[in-house]
Symmetry: C2
Subunit: 117 residues, 2 copies
DNA sequence: CAATTATTTCCATTATTCTGGAAATATGGA
DNA sequence: TCCATATTTCCAGAATAATGGAAATAATTG
């Protein structure tokens, strides 16, 4: 992931309907959601949502799979990891002491059962 | 941080010059950088950069402090943490198993000396 | 094959953002 | 006070993004 990819990913998430759709898909987990259900949930016209999903997909944050008449969307977690990795990359090289508190916050939120060394 | 704050923060970072300025400031650490030096480093006119810095500041990602004739900018790490926290929040509630690999990647990158339990 | 359902593509309008010249503000120094 | 430096604000033109109606594509059903 270079800075241009990062701008593309951030731009994709930097819009209300798209961030909402993304969060919906994250919550949906491995099951994902079909386009129509996302549009219904967000109360956005199908064609408008379709354009938004296309942006998220181009950015590598979601992927799609046809399922009969519907198209199912799921989060592309490798893309999400790449973006988050890019964002913390410089931070940690430049000053590791600002990264520790960041993880302190992330760890319990992410993995409640895990223990820090 | 609610979804609207997140859209504002993501929008702030979702532009080449702004993301570049932000990364520069992250690398600069606690010392920060004055506006003119940032503009020079990025080869962007002062007034254009000023507008960009204003967007980053409004989003709570950086803050400024006058220093004589110059104005020094620094990263507002609480804002960065809030954004990253928001992004992983749903992910981890919905499906913790996708969060672990995310941390696996972040931990060594962030805190090379630390050991996982 | 015709009808139905699900979604996307095309396209034009509207809205927002980006950009930088010129003027304004703020500080420090002679 | 006058001048130089650093930065911001004002403003308007150019570029980009968002939106949704209408038509096109794709799959299933009778």
């Amino acid at each position: 992931m270079d800075i241009n990819d990062a701008v593309a990913s951030l731009s994709a998430l930097a819009q209300y309907s798209r961030l909402s759709a993304f969060r919906l898909l994250v919550r949906a987990g491995g099951e994902g959601m079909v386009a129509g259900d996302i549009a219904r949930a967000l109360q956005v016209p199908n064609n408008t949502l379709s354009a938004h999903l296309s942006v998220l997909q181009q950015a590598g944050l979601i992927y799609s799979e046809r399922e009969g008449r519907s198209i199912r969307y799921r989060v592309e977690f490798s893309g999400v990891r790449a973006l988050l990795g890019f964002l913390v990359e410089d931070c940690c090289q430049g000053s590791p002491e600002v990264c520790a508190p960041l993880l302190e916050q992330l760890l319990p939120e992410c993995c409640p059962g895990e223990v820090r060394a």
